[in-house]
Symmetry: C2
Subunit: 204 residues, 2 copies
Amino acid sequence: MPRPRSLTPAQLAAAALAVIDRDGLAGLSMRAVAQQVGMSTMALYRYVDDRGELEQLVIELVLGAVDTTPPAADRPWQERIETMVDRVRDIVGAHPWIVPLIVAHRHRSVSVLRWSETVAGILAEAGLDGRKRVIALRGLLAYIIGAIQLEHLGPLAGQGTGVIADLPPAEFPHMAETARHARAVDADEEFHGGLANLLRGMGV
Amino acid sequence: MPRPRSLTPAQLAAAALAVIDRDGLAGLSMRAVAQQVGMSTMALYRYVDDRGELEQLVIELVLGAVDTTPPAADRPWQERIETMVDRVRDIVGAHPWIVPLIVAHRHRSVSVLRWSETVAGILAEAGLDGRKRVIALRGLLAYIIGAIQLEHLGPLAGQGTGVIADLPPAEFPHMAETARHARAVDADEEFHGGLANLLRGMGV
DNA sequence: TTCGTAGGTGTACGGCATACGCCTACGATC
DNA sequence: GATCGTAGGCGTATGCCGTACACCTACGAA
Protein backbone atom coordinates (compact mmCIF):
# COMPACT_ATOMS: atom_id res chain seq x y z
CA MET A 1 0.00 0.00 0.00
CA PRO A 2 1.04 3.60 -0.50
CA ARG A 3 2.81 5.97 1.81
CA PRO A 4 3.56 4.38 5.17
CA ARG A 5 2.67 6.27 8.34
CA SER A 6 5.48 8.40 9.64
CA LEU A 7 4.46 8.06 13.29
CA THR A 8 3.67 5.20 15.64
CA PRO A 9 0.77 5.61 18.09
CA ALA A 10 3.35 5.42 20.88
CA GLN A 11 5.28 8.34 19.41
CA LEU A 12 2.07 10.32 19.19
CA ALA A 13 1.23 9.52 22.80
CA ALA A 14 4.74 10.48 23.87
CA ALA A 15 4.40 13.84 22.14
CA ALA A 16 1.10 14.51 23.88
CA LEU A 17 2.63 13.52 27.21
CA ALA A 18 5.53 15.87 26.58
CA VAL A 19 3.07 18.71 26.02
CA ILE A 20 1.24 17.84 29.24
CA ASP A 21 4.42 17.58 31.29
CA ARG A 22 5.55 20.94 29.95
CA ASP A 23 2.34 23.00 29.88
CA GLY A 24 -0.09 21.13 32.08
CA LEU A 25 -3.34 19.54 31.10
CA ALA A 26 -4.77 22.89 30.07
CA GLY A 27 -1.96 23.13 27.51
CA LEU A 28 -3.01 19.91 25.82
CA SER A 29 -4.68 20.68 22.49
CA MET A 30 -4.67 19.06 19.09
CA ARG A 31 -2.79 22.10 17.80
CA ALA A 32 -0.12 21.87 20.49
CA VAL A 33 0.46 18.17 19.92
CA ALA A 34 0.61 18.67 16.16
CA GLN A 35 3.28 21.28 16.62
CA GLN A 36 5.16 18.95 18.95
CA VAL A 37 5.33 16.22 16.29
CA GLY A 38 5.91 18.69 13.47
CA MET A 39 2.71 17.99 11.57
CA SER A 40 -0.42 19.90 10.77
CA THR A 41 -3.27 19.73 13.25
CA MET A 42 -5.51 17.70 10.98
CA ALA A 43 -2.83 15.11 10.35
CA LEU A 44 -3.40 13.82 13.87
CA TYR A 45 -6.84 12.69 12.81
CA ARG A 46 -5.22 10.04 10.62
CA TYR A 47 -4.13 8.44 13.89
CA VAL A 48 -7.03 9.07 16.27
CA ASP A 49 -10.74 9.66 15.82
CA ASP A 50 -10.88 12.52 18.25
CA ARG A 51 -9.17 14.16 21.20
CA GLY A 52 -10.53 11.55 23.59
CA GLU A 53 -8.73 8.79 21.77
CA LEU A 54 -5.50 10.74 22.01
CA GLU A 55 -6.00 11.05 25.76
CA GLN A 56 -6.59 7.32 25.90
CA LEU A 57 -3.26 6.74 24.16
CA VAL A 58 -1.52 8.92 26.72
CA ILE A 59 -2.82 7.11 29.75
CA GLU A 60 -2.10 3.76 28.15
CA LEU A 61 1.47 4.91 27.56
CA VAL A 62 1.84 5.95 31.19
CA LEU A 63 -0.03 3.13 32.90
CA GLY A 64 1.46 0.57 30.54
CA ALA A 65 4.76 1.26 32.30
CA VAL A 66 3.38 -0.06 35.59
CA ASP A 67 4.86 -3.42 36.50
CA THR A 68 2.00 -5.88 36.94
CA THR A 69 3.97 -9.02 37.70
CA PRO A 70 2.84 -10.44 41.06
CA PRO A 71 5.18 -9.48 43.93
CA ALA A 72 7.12 -12.21 45.72
CA ALA A 73 4.52 -14.66 47.03
CA ASP A 74 6.33 -15.23 50.34
CA ARG A 75 5.43 -11.78 51.62
CA PRO A 76 2.18 -11.11 53.54
CA TRP A 77 -0.69 -10.28 51.21
CA GLN A 78 -1.10 -6.78 52.66
CA GLU A 79 2.50 -6.02 51.80
CA ARG A 80 2.05 -7.39 48.29
CA ILE A 81 -0.95 -5.15 47.68
CA GLU A 82 0.94 -2.19 49.06
CA THR A 83 3.64 -2.93 46.51
CA MET A 84 1.11 -2.98 43.70
CA VAL A 85 -0.40 0.29 44.87
CA ASP A 86 2.97 1.96 45.20
CA ARG A 87 3.90 0.99 41.67
CA VAL A 88 0.92 2.94 40.38
CA ARG A 89 1.46 5.87 42.69
CA ASP A 90 5.11 6.18 41.70
CA ILE A 91 4.35 6.26 37.99
CA VAL A 92 1.48 8.72 38.34
CA GLY A 93 3.56 10.88 40.64
CA ALA A 94 5.98 11.36 37.76
CA HIS A 95 3.17 12.82 35.62
CA PRO A 96 0.74 14.37 38.08
CA TRP A 97 -1.19 16.33 35.45
CA ILE A 98 -2.61 13.19 33.90
CA VAL A 99 -4.67 12.29 36.97
CA PRO A 100 -7.92 13.69 35.50
CA LEU A 101 -7.28 11.74 32.30
CA ILE A 102 -6.97 8.52 34.26
CA VAL A 103 -10.21 9.25 36.05
CA ALA A 104 -11.97 9.90 32.75
CA HIS A 105 -10.62 6.93 30.82
CA ARG A 106 -9.75 4.30 33.42
CA HIS A 107 -12.66 2.03 32.59
CA ARG A 108 -11.38 1.53 29.05
CA SER A 109 -7.75 0.96 29.96
CA VAL A 110 -6.32 -2.51 29.55
CA SER A 111 -3.42 -1.49 31.80
CA VAL A 112 -5.86 -0.89 34.62
CA LEU A 113 -7.37 -4.28 33.87
CA ARG A 114 -4.01 -6.02 34.02
CA TRP A 115 -3.20 -4.32 37.30
CA SER A 116 -6.58 -5.30 38.70
CA GLU A 117 -6.05 -8.88 37.61
CA THR A 118 -2.87 -9.15 39.65
CA VAL A 119 -4.45 -7.49 42.68
CA ALA A 120 -7.54 -9.72 42.43
CA GLY A 121 -5.21 -12.71 42.46
CA ILE A 122 -3.54 -11.51 45.64
CA LEU A 123 -6.92 -10.92 47.27
CA ALA A 124 -7.97 -14.44 46.30
CA GLU A 125 -4.84 -15.89 47.87
CA ALA A 126 -5.62 -13.84 50.98
CA GLY A 127 -8.81 -15.83 51.28
CA LEU A 128 -11.26 -13.18 50.11
CA ASP A 129 -13.92 -14.59 47.85
CA GLY A 130 -17.13 -13.52 46.12
CA ARG A 131 -18.62 -10.22 47.21
CA LYS A 132 -15.86 -9.60 49.74
CA ARG A 133 -13.33 -9.59 46.94
CA VAL A 134 -15.47 -7.34 44.77
CA ILE A 135 -15.85 -4.84 47.59
CA ALA A 136 -12.16 -4.98 48.49
CA LEU A 137 -11.00 -4.40 44.93
CA ARG A 138 -13.38 -1.54 44.24
CA GLY A 139 -12.57 -0.02 47.60
CA LEU A 140 -8.90 -0.07 46.77
CA LEU A 141 -9.52 1.60 43.42
CA ALA A 142 -11.69 4.23 45.05
CA TYR A 143 -9.07 5.00 47.67
CA ILE A 144 -6.24 5.21 45.15
CA ILE A 145 -8.12 7.48 42.78
CA GLY A 146 -9.32 9.72 45.57
CA ALA A 147 -6.03 9.89 47.41
CA ILE A 148 -4.01 10.61 44.29
CA GLN A 149 -6.33 13.45 43.44
CA LEU A 150 -6.13 14.91 46.93
CA GLU A 151 -2.39 14.67 46.70
CA HIS A 152 -1.87 16.19 43.26
CA LEU A 153 -4.91 18.37 42.60
CA GLY A 154 -5.15 20.00 45.98
CA PRO A 155 -3.82 23.43 46.82
CA LEU A 156 -0.05 23.69 46.84
CA ALA A 157 1.33 21.47 49.56
CA GLY A 158 0.95 23.04 52.97
CA GLN A 159 -1.09 25.99 51.78
CA GLY A 160 -4.40 24.26 52.36
CA THR A 161 -3.66 23.33 55.92
CA GLY A 162 -2.24 26.81 56.39
CA VAL A 163 -5.58 28.35 55.46
CA ILE A 164 -7.36 26.02 57.83
CA ALA A 165 -5.00 26.74 60.68
CA ASP A 166 -5.91 30.43 60.35
CA LEU A 167 -9.62 29.79 60.86
CA PRO A 168 -11.50 31.16 63.82
CA PRO A 169 -10.81 28.35 66.30
CA ALA A 170 -14.09 29.10 68.00
CA GLU A 171 -16.02 27.93 64.97
CA PHE A 172 -13.68 25.16 63.81
CA PRO A 173 -11.90 23.92 66.92
CA HIS A 174 -11.22 20.38 65.75
CA MET A 175 -10.12 21.41 62.28
CA ALA A 176 -7.75 24.01 63.66
CA GLU A 177 -6.11 21.42 65.87
CA THR A 178 -6.10 18.79 63.13
CA ALA A 179 -4.46 21.24 60.75
CA ARG A 180 -1.72 21.88 63.26
CA HIS A 181 -0.91 18.18 63.38
CA ALA A 182 -1.33 17.85 59.61
CA ARG A 183 1.77 19.94 59.04
CA ALA A 184 3.84 17.18 60.60
CA VAL A 185 2.40 14.44 58.39
CA ASP A 186 3.99 14.21 54.95
CA ALA A 187 2.27 12.94 51.80
CA ASP A 188 3.86 9.50 51.95
CA GLU A 189 2.86 8.84 55.52
CA GLU A 190 -0.63 10.10 54.88
CA PHE A 191 -1.11 7.93 51.82
CA HIS A 192 0.32 4.77 53.34
CA GLY A 193 -1.47 5.35 56.62
CA GLY A 194 -4.82 5.54 54.91
CA LEU A 195 -3.99 2.52 52.79
CA ALA A 196 -2.97 0.58 55.89
CA ASN A 197 -6.32 1.42 57.49
CA LEU A 198 -8.15 0.12 54.48
CA LEU A 199 -6.09 -3.07 54.26
CA ARG A 200 -6.55 -3.75 57.96
CA GLY A 201 -10.31 -3.53 57.56
CA MET A 202 -10.37 -5.74 54.50
CA GLY A 203 -8.62 -8.57 56.23
CA VAL A 204 -11.41 -9.67 58.54
CA MET B 1 -26.73 53.59 45.31
CA PRO B 2 -28.09 53.19 41.79
CA ARG B 3 -29.81 50.25 40.22
CA PRO B 4 -29.97 47.28 42.57
CA ARG B 5 -28.88 43.87 41.35
CA SER B 6 -31.70 41.86 39.87
CA LEU B 7 -30.26 38.49 40.91
CA THR B 8 -28.90 37.00 44.11
CA PRO B 9 -25.80 34.79 43.92
CA ALA B 10 -28.00 31.90 45.05
CA GLN B 11 -30.35 32.44 42.13
CA LEU B 12 -27.41 32.48 39.78
CA ALA B 13 -26.07 29.27 41.26
CA ALA B 14 -29.50 27.67 41.02
CA ALA B 15 -29.71 28.60 37.33
CA ALA B 16 -26.31 27.05 36.66
CA LEU B 17 -27.31 23.93 38.56
CA ALA B 18 -30.49 23.71 36.49
CA VAL B 19 -28.42 23.81 33.32
CA ILE B 20 -26.13 21.07 34.65
CA ASP B 21 -28.99 18.86 35.76
CA ARG B 22 -30.61 19.27 32.34
CA ASP B 23 -27.65 19.15 29.93
CA GLY B 24 -24.80 17.68 31.94
CA LEU B 25 -21.53 19.33 32.86
CA ALA B 26 -20.61 19.68 29.19
CA GLY B 27 -23.71 21.82 28.76
CA LEU B 28 -22.53 24.32 31.36
CA SER B 29 -21.35 27.50 29.68
CA MET B 30 -21.62 31.16 30.48
CA ARG B 31 -23.93 31.49 27.49
CA ALA B 32 -26.22 28.71 28.65
CA VAL B 33 -26.50 30.11 32.17
CA ALA B 34 -27.14 33.60 30.84
CA GLN B 35 -29.98 32.26 28.75
CA GLN B 36 -31.32 30.38 31.77
CA VAL B 37 -31.54 33.59 33.84
CA GLY B 38 -32.69 35.67 30.87
CA MET B 39 -29.69 37.94 30.71
CA SER B 40 -26.86 38.56 28.32
CA THR B 41 -23.70 36.51 28.68
CA MET B 42 -21.62 39.42 29.86
CA ALA B 43 -24.11 40.39 32.54
CA LEU B 44 -22.98 37.33 34.51
CA TYR B 45 -19.61 38.92 34.95
CA ARG B 46 -21.21 41.50 37.21
CA TYR B 47 -21.76 38.62 39.64
CA VAL B 48 -18.66 36.45 39.22
CA ASP B 49 -15.09 37.11 38.13
CA ASP B 50 -14.95 34.09 35.87
CA ARG B 51 -16.45 30.70 35.14
CA GLY B 52 -14.56 29.10 38.00
CA GLU B 53 -16.27 31.35 40.50
CA LEU B 54 -19.64 30.37 39.08
CA GLU B 55 -18.73 26.71 39.54
CA GLN B 56 -17.74 27.51 43.10
CA LEU B 57 -21.18 29.00 43.70
CA VAL B 58 -22.80 25.85 42.37
CA ILE B 59 -20.99 23.45 44.63
CA GLU B 60 -21.54 25.72 47.61
CA LEU B 61 -25.25 25.68 46.83
CA VAL B 62 -25.28 21.89 46.66
CA LEU B 63 -22.94 21.07 49.54
CA GLY B 64 -24.47 23.80 51.67
CA ALA B 65 -27.55 21.60 51.81
CA VAL B 66 -25.65 18.86 53.62
CA ASP B 67 -26.68 18.61 57.25
CA THR B 68 -23.55 19.03 59.38
CA THR B 69 -25.08 18.82 62.82
CA PRO B 70 -23.43 16.00 64.78
CA PRO B 71 -25.47 12.78 64.78
CA ALA B 72 -26.88 11.47 68.06
CA ALA B 73 -23.90 11.00 70.38
CA ASP B 74 -25.22 7.77 71.89
CA ARG B 75 -24.53 5.80 68.70
CA PRO B 76 -21.13 4.12 68.07
CA TRP B 77 -18.67 6.47 66.40
CA GLN B 78 -18.45 4.32 63.28
CA GLU B 79 -22.17 4.63 62.80
CA ARG B 80 -22.03 8.37 63.30
CA ILE B 81 -19.39 8.74 60.65
CA GLU B 82 -21.38 6.55 58.32
CA THR B 83 -24.28 8.92 58.83
CA MET B 84 -22.13 11.90 57.94
CA VAL B 85 -20.81 10.16 54.84
CA ASP B 86 -24.26 9.12 53.72
CA ARG B 87 -25.53 12.67 54.00
CA VAL B 88 -22.95 13.77 51.46
CA ARG B 89 -23.47 10.81 49.20
CA ASP B 90 -27.24 11.34 49.13
CA ILE B 91 -26.97 14.98 48.16
CA VAL B 92 -24.33 14.36 45.50
CA GLY B 93 -26.33 11.44 44.17
CA ALA B 94 -29.12 13.88 43.38
CA HIS B 95 -26.74 15.89 41.14
CA PRO B 96 -24.20 13.37 39.88
CA TRP B 97 -22.81 15.66 37.16
CA ILE B 98 -21.28 18.02 39.70
CA VAL B 99 -18.80 15.46 40.99
CA PRO B 100 -15.91 16.86 38.91
CA LEU B 101 -16.74 20.34 40.16
CA ILE B 102 -16.48 19.16 43.75
CA VAL B 103 -13.13 17.59 43.02
CA ALA B 104 -11.86 20.79 41.45
CA HIS B 105 -13.14 23.21 44.09
CA ARG B 106 -13.39 21.20 47.30
CA HIS B 107 -10.39 22.82 48.92
CA ARG B 108 -12.04 26.23 48.80
CA SER B 109 -15.46 25.14 50.01
CA VAL B 110 -16.59 26.22 53.46
CA SER B 111 -19.25 23.53 53.34
CA VAL B 112 -16.56 20.88 53.07
CA LEU B 113 -14.84 22.55 55.99
CA ARG B 114 -17.97 22.48 58.13
CA TRP B 115 -18.54 18.82 57.31
CA SER B 116 -14.91 18.02 58.13
CA GLU B 117 -15.22 19.86 61.44
CA THR B 118 -18.08 17.62 62.52
CA VAL B 119 -16.30 14.47 61.38
CA ALA B 120 -13.07 15.53 63.09
CA GLY B 121 -15.06 15.94 66.27
CA ILE B 122 -16.43 12.42 66.02
CA LEU B 123 -12.96 11.05 65.39
CA ALA B 124 -11.69 12.89 68.45
CA GLU B 125 -14.44 11.42 70.59
CA ALA B 126 -13.50 8.01 69.17
CA GLY B 127 -10.12 8.48 70.77
CA LEU B 128 -8.09 9.23 67.64
CA ASP B 129 -5.60 12.01 68.18
CA GLY B 130 -2.76 13.73 66.39
CA ARG B 131 -1.48 12.10 63.24
CA LYS B 132 -3.94 9.25 63.54
CA ARG B 133 -6.81 11.69 63.23
CA VAL B 134 -5.19 13.49 60.32
CA ILE B 135 -4.72 10.23 58.46
CA ALA B 136 -8.23 9.02 59.24
CA LEU B 137 -9.88 12.22 58.06
CA ARG B 138 -7.90 12.47 54.84
CA GLY B 139 -8.43 8.78 54.20
CA LEU B 140 -12.16 9.24 54.53
CA LEU B 141 -12.13 12.17 52.12
CA ALA B 142 -10.05 10.20 49.64
CA TYR B 143 -12.38 7.23 49.79
CA ILE B 144 -15.51 9.33 49.40
CA ILE B 145 -14.17 11.30 46.45
CA GLY B 146 -12.87 8.21 44.72
CA ALA B 147 -15.91 6.06 45.37
CA ILE B 148 -18.37 8.71 44.27
CA GLN B 149 -16.47 9.12 41.03
CA LEU B 150 -16.36 5.39 40.38
CA GLU B 151 -20.08 5.29 41.05
CA HIS B 152 -21.16 8.21 38.90
CA LEU B 153 -18.47 8.66 36.27
CA GLY B 154 -17.98 5.05 35.34
CA PRO B 155 -19.45 3.34 32.32
CA LEU B 156 -23.20 2.91 32.48
CA ALA B 157 -24.05 0.63 35.38
CA GLY B 158 -23.40 -3.01 34.58
CA GLN B 159 -21.78 -2.33 31.23
CA GLY B 160 -18.29 -2.16 32.68
CA THR B 161 -18.50 -5.48 34.43
CA GLY B 162 -20.15 -6.87 31.31
CA VAL B 163 -17.11 -5.99 29.25
CA ILE B 164 -14.86 -7.58 31.84
CA ALA B 165 -16.91 -10.74 32.00
CA ASP B 166 -16.39 -11.17 28.24
CA LEU B 167 -12.61 -11.13 28.54
CA PRO B 168 -10.53 -14.16 27.63
CA PRO B 169 -10.64 -15.99 30.98
CA ALA B 170 -7.25 -17.48 30.23
CA GLU B 171 -5.61 -14.10 30.46
CA PHE B 172 -7.81 -12.54 33.17
CA PRO B 173 -9.04 -15.46 35.28
CA HIS B 174 -9.52 -13.56 38.53
CA MET B 175 -11.15 -10.55 36.90
CA ALA B 176 -13.57 -12.74 34.99
CA GLU B 177 -14.66 -14.42 38.19
CA THR B 178 -14.75 -11.18 40.13
CA ALA B 179 -16.92 -9.59 37.44
CA ARG B 180 -19.38 -12.46 37.71
CA HIS B 181 -19.78 -11.79 41.42
CA ALA B 182 -19.81 -8.04 40.87
CA ARG B 183 -23.15 -8.27 39.10
CA ALA B 184 -24.73 -9.35 42.36
CA VAL B 185 -23.31 -6.43 44.38
CA ASP B 186 -25.27 -3.21 44.07
CA ALA B 187 -23.85 0.28 44.40
CA ASP B 188 -25.05 0.76 47.97
CA GLU B 189 -23.55 -2.46 49.25
CA GLU B 190 -20.30 -1.76 47.46
CA PHE B 191 -20.01 1.75 48.84
CA HIS B 192 -20.91 0.85 52.40
CA GLY B 193 -18.80 -2.28 52.31
CA GLY B 194 -15.72 -0.31 51.34
CA LEU B 195 -16.50 2.32 53.93
CA ALA B 196 -16.93 -0.34 56.61
CA ASN B 197 -13.52 -1.76 55.72
CA LEU B 198 -11.94 1.67 56.11
CA LEU B 199 -13.69 2.39 59.40
CA ARG B 200 -12.69 -0.99 60.80
CA GLY B 201 -9.06 -0.29 60.00
CA MET B 202 -9.18 3.20 61.49
CA GLY B 203 -10.38 2.00 64.84
CA VAL B 204 -7.24 0.30 66.06
C1' DT C 1 5.86 3.94 -16.14
C1' DT C 2 1.36 4.21 -14.41
C1' DC C 3 -2.21 4.33 -11.02
C1' DG C 4 -4.98 3.94 -6.82
C1' DT C 5 -4.74 4.68 -2.12
C1' DA C 6 -3.96 6.60 2.03
C1' DG C 7 -1.09 10.31 4.44
C1' DG C 8 -0.76 15.02 5.14
C1' DT C 9 -2.55 20.01 4.61
C1' DG C 10 -5.36 24.45 4.47
C1' DT C 11 -9.43 26.53 5.15
C1' DA C 12 -13.54 27.28 7.42
C1' DC C 13 -17.24 26.84 10.96
C1' DG C 14 -19.40 27.01 15.20
C1' DG C 15 -18.68 27.33 20.10
C1' DC C 16 -16.08 28.74 24.04
C1' DA C 17 -14.38 32.41 27.82
C1' DT C 18 -13.80 36.91 28.33
C1' DA C 19 -11.75 42.13 27.59
C1' DC C 20 -13.56 46.49 26.51
C1' DG C 21 -16.58 50.32 25.76
C1' DC C 22 -21.13 51.81 25.62
C1' DC C 23 -25.92 52.85 27.10
C1' DT C 24 -29.21 53.41 30.74
C1' DA C 25 -32.01 52.60 34.93
C1' DC C 26 -32.05 54.09 39.21
C1' DG C 27 -31.26 55.86 44.33
C1' DA C 28 -29.47 59.79 46.45
C1' DT C 29 -29.20 64.66 46.56
C1' DC C 30 -30.74 69.16 46.01
C1' DG D 1 -39.66 67.19 40.97
C1' DA D 2 -35.21 67.81 38.38
C1' DT D 3 -30.41 66.33 38.26
C1' DC D 4 -26.46 63.43 38.45
C1' DG D 5 -23.04 59.79 39.43
C1' DT D 6 -22.78 55.04 39.74
C1' DA D 7 -23.15 50.51 38.81
C1' DG D 8 -26.01 47.02 36.10
C1' DG D 9 -26.58 45.19 31.84
C1' DC D 10 -25.39 44.62 26.78
C1' DG D 11 -22.96 44.25 21.97
C1' DT D 12 -19.01 43.51 19.76
C1' DA D 13 -14.64 41.59 19.01
C1' DT D 14 -10.55 38.60 19.94
C1' DG D 15 -8.26 34.51 20.23
C1' DC D 16 -8.62 30.08 21.65
C1' DC D 17 -10.72 25.27 20.90
C1' DG D 18 -12.22 20.67 18.22
C1' DT D 19 -13.05 19.08 13.93
C1' DA D 20 -15.63 18.60 8.97
C1' DC D 21 -14.37 18.80 4.34
C1' DA D 22 -11.99 19.20 0.08
C1' DC D 23 -7.69 19.04 -1.78
C1' DC D 24 -2.82 17.75 -3.06
C1' DT D 25 0.79 14.32 -3.24
C1' DA D 26 4.12 10.65 -1.96
C1' DC D 27 4.48 6.17 -2.55
C1' DG D 28 4.03 0.79 -3.18
C1' DA D 29 2.03 -2.37 -6.36
C1' DA D 30 1.23 -3.51 -11.01
